[in-house]
């Protein structure tokens, strides 16, 4: 099946360290900005379907032994707003059960408005302007 590319947001709509729910091709998608990189995950927790967009963006807690706490990859995980499962924003995998519990991760890219005007993009809700940059998701 050929993939479609959807224009879902202006890059400025999602500040670094935040997320935004967008809709593309009828799907709810959680768009994350991790220090300028964009990632898109299905916005539906595989557990009880909490909205990942409403979850806190956090780092990952590690310890080599009891009492030795350390935080790594700050800003690269999202905690589901309901039961707190942690998902790797880069892959959509849940840390506790990476094989069975994962959310769909979509390819994202940034494109200049001037390119979008001509390319094979679906801009359902956007008026694309040539002056701005846009986040594009492949579905």
């Amino acid at each position: 099946m050929s993939k479609s590319r959807f224009v879902v947001a202006k890059t400025g709509d999602v500040a670094p360290g935040t997320s935004l729910r967008v809709n593309a091709g009828g799907r709810d998608i959680a768009l994350f900005n991790v220090s300028g990189e964009f990632f898109a995950l299905g916005d539906r927790c595989p557990h009880e379907s909490g909205s990942l967009c409403a979850g806190k963006i956090v780092g990952f807690a590690e310890a080599d032994e009891p009492g030795k706490y350390r935080l790594v990859r700050d800003g690269e995980f999202v905690r589901c707003p309901w039961h707190g499962w942690e998902f790797d924003i880069r892959t959509g995998k849940s840390w506790c059960d990476p094989e069975k519990s994962r959310v769909r991760a979509y390819q994202t890219g940034v494109a200049a408005g001037s390119d979008l005007v001509e390319g094979p993009y679906v801009a359902e809700t956007f008026k694309v302007s040539v002056e701005e940059n846009y986040v594009v998701i492949e579905i």
Binding site: V58, A61, E62, A63, D64, E65, P66, G67, K68, Y69, R70, H83, G84, W85, E86, S94, C96, D97
Partner: protein, 377 residues
């Protein structure tokens, strides 16, 4: 003390066994008949203290182990006088010679370990262990024992483990399910470090120091309530041991839950795994689901096995735990949990029975490895 280093394993043919093969009974009870019986094992200072203060006349029965309750001894295993488990000949003739285990691990649950005076508790524990070695282990080569340690001072407990570890007949360290602090707390770690050094599992037996009520709602009216609540105490042990990271710190250490009831465990772990998924960042050293840690590190002795009779729960337990290695055969002698010789709720010839009777105890207690199955042949 003088450690017998020349200890040899049971002679050939010592155990044919009721179950048609080699077996280990991982929980039988022996009992200090009176404080007086310990006097020969005390030094001058303590002997005089005990005599002048009348301590030798005290009963150190535990509230969580009332000697005359029906559950504490089956009528045919109850001595005509004195505490159940205090008579060697009953253990030998009515139990060891009938069931015929290659080894039976004797646990002495004794109030002396619960004294508030940390020094007196430690001295009593040393005396009890000497008494166990001299009056039980020396009398029957099938017997093994757990090291009794003072429960209110981990450093003194560790010292006692060091003192005893050279005697290979002591195969584990004995603690109680309900003490002053949850079992995983770091205050206990000197005990675990010492046990770990010597390849000794920690045996956690039903029992309470009554520093806290067994029910979270306070003290109830009946012993029956507290006995039932032992299982809740064990459930708390699971939570504490895993959450505190005892197995992250001591990856080779095993815990054996004795007289826990067993069947409560799967449901407890469904819940623990579920909670862990959401809140594991609080205890990041817990890196795999708690059920997996429990499967690798915790063992449970069989009796009493809480199930409606003949309900097939033992097989279901293994299915639900995804392991046939967790249960260790025990009779809980002389306690009254089953009639006749029906200590095993499954067919003795089933593969699961062989695991429970022989492989699992041997896999749990490194010091039983000196036993060979040929002994039973």
């Amino acid at each position: 003390m003088q450690v017998r280093m020349d200890h040899t394993i049971p002679a050939k043919g010592a155990a044919v066994g009721l179950f048609g093969g080699a077996a280990v009974d991982s929980d039988v009870h022996i009992s200090v008949p009176s404080v007086k019986a310990l006097l020969p094992y005390l030094n001058q200072y303590w002997r005089q203290q005990f005599l002048t203060r009348g301590i030798d006349r005290l009963s150190w029965n535990m509230t969580s182990d009332p000697p005359n309750a029906p559950i504490t001894a089956r009528p045919d295993r109850r001595p005509t006088s004195g505490r159940p488990g205090s008579d060697f000949s009953i253990l030998k003739e009515k139990h060891l010679d009938v069931f015929g285990p290659s080894a039976a691990i004797a646990n002495c649950i004794y109030g002396g370990a619960a004294l508030h005076s940390e020094d007196m508790a430690a001295v009593v524990c040393t005396a009890v262990n000497d008494w166990i070695a001299a009056e039980w282990l020396d009398r029957d080569p099938r017997l093994r024992a757990s090291i009794v340690v003072p429960l209110n001072n981990a450093d003194l407990a560790a010292e006692e483990i060091e003192r005893r570890a050279g005697d290979p007949r002591f195969v584990q360290v004995l603690m109680l399910a309900m003490g002053e602090q949850p079992l995983g707390k770091r205050a206990h770690w000197p005990i675990y470090a010492a046990a770990n050094r010597h390849g000794l599992p920690i045996g956690v037996h039903a029992g309470s120091l009554y520093q806290h009520p067994a029910l979270a709602g306070g003290y109830g009216s009946y012993f029956l309530e507290d006995y039932v609540a032992q299982a809740f105490g064990f459930e708390s042990c699971v939570l504490s041991l895993v959450s505190e990271g005892v197995f992250a710190k001591f990856p080779d250490l095993k815990f054996v839950f004795m007289e826990s009831g067993v069947t409560w465990l799967p449901a407890a772990l469904w819940r623990f795994d579920k909670t862990w998924r959401g809140v594991r960042a609080e205890v990041p050293w817990v890196k795999v689901p708690p059920s997996q840690i429990v499967r690798d590190h915790i063992r449970l002795t069989l009796q009493p096995f809480d199930e409606p009779e003949g309900a097939g729960r033992l097989e279901r337990f293994c299915e639900q735990m995804k392991s046939d290695e967790m249960v260790l055969f025990s009779t809980d002698f002389p306690h009254w949990h089953f009639e006749g010789e029906a200590a095993l709720p499954i067919s003795a010839s089933s593969p699961l029975a062989r695991k429970i009777l022989w492989d699992n105890p041997r896999g749990t207690y490194p010091r039983l490895n000196a036993l060979s199955p040929e002994i039973a042949a």
